[in-house]
Amino acid sequence: MNKINSIRKDWSLIETLIAEDRKILDIGCGDGGLMEQLENNRNAITHGIELNRDLAANAIARGFNVVHGNAELDLSQYSNNSFDYVILSQTLQAMMKPKDILSELLRIGSKAIVSFPNFGHWKIRLQLLISGRMPVTESLPYTWYDTPNIHFFTIKDFLNLCNEMNIVIEKSIGLTSKGKQFDISESITGVNFFTHEAIFLLSYKNFEPIKIKSSKKVFAKNSVIAN
């Protein structure tokens, strides 16, 4: 099968984090571009949620399993551990309650993949420092009054939150504004300065499911985190 060129550069990076034959939920899946890429290149079974009506309609018309809905309201319908990966690409900063979303991602999926623009990048810091106005960049192109991005955070902030929530960072990829790729975990000093965009593969710390056995079935619930 011929590889489809990635429309967005983080799609191909996300792809590298995903094993073959897995079940995936793409939150904010658009018209199914990433789903298509993962079906073709990773033989994935994909599901998607999309808030925008026209994009959701296009994705459905292209044959993908897509639910037209709002991730902040509709994630609760999915059962625990029903996906191998849950992907949230470039959307966490637009969520009303990013922390709740993050814990939902890891409830539904065994692993979560989260990508976001780093507000700690030097260009952004410089803009705010020098002009004294809210920064506008290529990855954050909106003015303050009409931006969908309502929660700005830096890589440092994100790492602190993960720590607080007992989330393990399995892999982390950073991209500079020139598109140069590096491992965030290996170079934490300065990383918050140079990372333009970050992609994290997350899971829960020492996750041990409680198994409840009935006569026929084994039910698993991931409500306990053992340290």
Binding site: H47, R53, A57, I60, F64, H68, Q77
Partner: protein, 382 residues
């Protein structure tokens, strides 16, 4: 059991006779023999993988496309079904049958009771959506189709599609469920009850025996249709179409004539309905919808069914202005399917045309139906 196929030239319809089949209904009653009137469009392919069953709504019939000889007009979904249409009959073999209890050639209250020359009337047993689907499954079986590619329906047709997913998941690959619900709501039952009361309080109805004098409870049936028709529209659509415009006059009459266009329109809807629909059928079919309830049972039925149903794909569609089967009802189905990790797609289409939107010009509906069918068919065809 014997099945016989004939063609009714007057009805321009195929008829399947199921003789001595003793169809057991949900009520416990048994119909020993029955017939279903049906139409097919397109050609069944050699592997028999391209069959689609379209289920009609409350007042629909088997004439989904082409000419309807009863009304003299085009079939009820001819904008959706046909060559190069979203449900493309160049590609798919489309079957549509008049439901059990209907009045377009299938066994129903207006047909003669088995072995007698008297019509059933009020003696017809109560039928449910489950019974309709059971009868359809016998038709499909006797057409020698092992597996339907898709079952598609809006409103009461959506109820049938959902019932197919529950009762015969092993005989279908996907369903397209439009403007439906897991249950008929209290408000919907209430509207149906008003319609039935209108029919039953017409002195000509005579406990359902109006046919003995060759009469029709026209007043009652047309009022029932007028009420129902209001529920199929939306306030915005009505306002856009009629506003407060007057009908064939410049000033109000200070009387009870149809001063307003909307009144005239409803009267016309009622009058033309009487010419094509049987009052007893209307009672039975509205009742079948009222009895439809999978609110508590759907999830369990899907999760614990002895019939494998993991392979089923669902396309669920609702409309923003549909207050008869609002989006929240569709979302309940989607939620339950997602909680079971089933392959489900859902779209709420933005329109002001109300419940009837599924029969009207809605490009987004055309696109998702066409795309869903084409892409999923390509997958089985590989």
């Amino acid at each position: 059991m014997k099945t016989k196929f004939t063609t009714d030239t007057k009805l321009e319809s195929e008829i399947a006779y199921f003789q001595n089949i003793n169809l057991k209904l949900e009520s416990g009653d048994i119909i020993d023999s029955f017939k279903l009137a049906f139409k097919t469009y397109g050609k069944l392919n050699a592997d028999k993988t391209n069959a689609i069953l379209v289920c009609h709504a409350l007042t629909g019939d088997q004439y989904v496309a082409g000419n309807n000889p009863i009304t003299g007009r085009e079939g009820w979904w001819s904008r959706m079904v046909g060559p190069n249409k979203p449900i493309d009959t160049n590609k798919f073999f489309v079957i549509c049958s008049n439901v059990l209890g209907g009045c377009a050639g299938s066994t129903g209250p207006k047909e003669l009771q088995n072995g007698s020359d008297v019509a059933y009337g009020g003696n017809f047993p109560s039928v449910t959506i489950k019974d309709m689907v059971k009868a359809q499954s016998l038709l499909i079986e006797n057409l020698n189709i092992e597996k339907l590619f898709s079952v598609i329906g809006g409103s009461m047709g959506a109820m049938q599609a959902l019932q197919w997913a529950i009762d015969f998941p092993d005989k279908i690959l996907n369903i397209i469920h439009i403007a439906g619900a897991l249950k008929h709501s209290a408000q919907n039952i209430a509207f149906h009850e008003v319609g039935r009361q209108a029919i039953m309080s017409d002195p000509i109805w005579k406990n359902g025996k109006y046919f003995e004098n060759n009469e029709v409870p026209e007043r009652g049936l047309s009022v029932a249709r007028m009420i129902a028709h209001i529920t199929y529209l939306s306030e915005n659509a009505m306002h856009r179409k009629f506003g407060r415009k007057l009908q064939s006059r410049d000033i109000i009459s200070f009387g009870f004539d149809a001063d307003f266009q909307v009144e005239s329109y409803l009267r016309y809807q009622g009058k033309s309905f009487v010419e094509r629909f049987d009052a007893n059928s209307y009672l039975y079919l509205t009742r079948a919808m009222d009895y439809f309830d999978h609110d508590e049972t759907f999830r369990k039925n899907i999760e614990f069914s002895h019939n494998p149903n993991n392979h089923l794909k669902y396309l669920i569609v609702s409309f923003t202005s549909d207050w008869l089967f609002p989006t929240i009802e569709s979302k309940m189905i989607v939620n339950q399917l997602n909680s079971l990790s089933r392959e489900v797609s859902f779209l709420e289409i933005d329109t002001d045309k109300g419940h009837d939107s599924f029969l009207l010009e809605e490009p987004q509906l055309d696109n998702v139906i066409k795309g869903f069918l084409t892409n999923n068919f390509a997958k089985i065809d590989e």
